[in-house]
């Protein structure tokens, strides 16, 4: 009990760093995923080429390797030293963004062709068509997978402890060294990671409900409690399709 009382503030601070990395990394990943995903749906071969190159490279190389490269290799050939937190966010965002881009591309392509044809018949511009018709429908479809990706990013953020960021994993390592109690030190961290994951799941499911309601699709099941139920099998699988 003493362990929890004395170390809880430290773990909380570590969890704060983990959350910060998750939010910042997700924001970067989201922007990249949207931009590159939309590029991938264009007819222009150059745009598609850029999108394919980005996704293949960053899905093919582990985030840890990218992070070490940014943090340790870049300062050697350039006069710039990236801030270690920034390098971590960049590596996580680039990695997860590549997975997200594929999700965005697939979701946009999955919107029925008749929708596009209708907008053409109504003489809508490309921007208007994408923003008002295609994206809202694709959005509802990409959200469940985005939720999984955010959790994967949160879990992957543990690698930043290897370059010296004081995240939850780093705190657990320090506590183990300080108290010698491996089980307690790491179990506390694991439980906090688990709680963060559950909160993230809840948030994404709220967003999903909103997106579906906006499209006039009534979500199944009742109040807030329904959100805590495990989701359908199709939304659970980790996105790794390369």
């Amino acid at each position: 009990m003493d362990f929890f009382v004395s170390t809880f503030p430290m773990y909380l601070a570590g969890a704060g760093i983990t959350l910060l990395l998750t939010v910042a990394g997700s924001a970067l990943a989201f922007v990249l995923a949207m931009a590159v995903g939309i590029l991938g749906t264009l007819r222009n071969p150059v745009a598609r080429g850029i999108a394919t190159f980005y996704t293949e490279v960053f899905r093919g190389v582990a985030a840890l390797v990218v992070m070490f490269w940014l943090a340790f290799a870049i300062p050697q050939i350039t006069p710039y030293q990236l801030d270690i937190n920034f390098a971590a966010i960049l590596a996580l965002g680039l990695n997860v963004g590549a997975y997200g881009a594929e999700v965005v591309r697939a979701s946009i392509n999955a919107v029925p062709r008749a929708q596009t044809e209708a907008t053409v018949a109504l003489n809508m511009s490309w921007a208007r068509r994408t923003w008002r018709v295609i994206l809202p429908q694709a959005w509802a479809q990409m959200l469940p997978t985005f939720g999984n990706l955010v959790i994967e990013l949160m879990k992957a953020s543990a690698i930043v402890s290897l370059v010296g960021v004081a995240d939850l994993t780093q705190i657990a390592n320090q506590q183990r060294a300080a108290t010698g109690d491996t089980v307690l030190a790491f179990t506390s961290a694991l439980v906090m990671y688990f709680v963060i994951a559950q909160v993230l799941v809840l948030g994404v499911r709220l967003l999903e409900r909103r997106a579906n309601r906006r499209l006039g699709r009534t979500p199944a099941g009742g109040g807030l409690l329904a959100l805590l139920r495990p989701p359908a099998a199709t939304t659970r699988a980790k996105v790794t399709a390369l």
Binding site: R59, V66, A73, S157, T187, T240
Partner: protein, 211 residues
């Protein structure tokens, strides 16, 4: 600056690391395939099933790196880091493959079960000769994706001193103060393995999706 001669010089060392990386991946994947199937089957049992599910749900929601540290510090001293790494990778990914198997089993048509019952086949043959062959065939591409995902997670083993590619690159970096070449080559070697395997998986998808 980039030094090509130095880069060529360290390739043999990195390839040795790649061998360990591949070893860890293949062994860990074998654990994940067998354990995942076992978990998927046990989940159907009453009482024990939900309990096992909860445990693996927890494993799936927490970082692999922390699990590696946890087991590494607790394991008896006579276990090699590679053994620990393989075990943790295998159990972590079993949480994912179990879900894949489950979706495959649920995808087997109801008529197949009914036919088994009509022929009063013993449970062993129902599973061994009817359900699993159909279920597993359908999920082969999904399982393949996890092989690639696992391959890309092996650099984490470097944290528990397994001498895989990332560990070799890190050692070269700290000995020669030249990490640019080492880390870049590690990235390229990863691409060299994961891009062709992704193409193979896509072929598998085309072949088995039609079933």
């Amino acid at each position: 600056m980039w030094d090509t001669e130095f880069a060529i010089g360290i390739i043999p060392q990195l390839l040795e690391g790649l061998v360990v990386t591949v070893q860890a991946t293949v062994l860990g994947y074998a654990v994940a395939l067998v354990l995942g199937l076992a978990v998927a089957l046990i989940r159907r049992v009453r009482v024990v099933g939900p309990l096992v599910f909860a445990v693996f749900e927890f494993i799936r929601s927490t970082p692999l790196l922390v699990q590696l540290f946890f087991v590494f510090y607790l394991a008896p001293a006579n276990l090699t880091p590679l053994t620990i790494g393989v075990a943790v990778l295998g159990v972590h990914y079993a949480a994912y493959t179990a879900e894949v198997y489950r979706s495959g089993i649920e995808g087997v048509a109801k008529g197949q079960w009914e036919a088994c019952r009509a022929l009063s086949l013993p449970p062993l043959r129902v599973w061994g000769a009817v359900v699993l062959p159909q279920a597993i065939r359908k999920v082969i591409p999904a399982l393949g994706n996890y092989l690639i995902a696992m391959f890309k997670d092996t650099p984490l083993l470097f944290a528990i001193t397994v001498h895989e590619m990332m560990f070799v690159a890190d050692t070269i970096g700290s000995e020669t103060f030249r990490s640019m070449e080492a880390y870049t080559l590690v990235g390229l070697l990863f691409l060299l393995v994961s891009v062709p395997s992704a193409i193979v998986i896509r072929r598998l998808e085309r072949r088995y999706a039609a079933v």
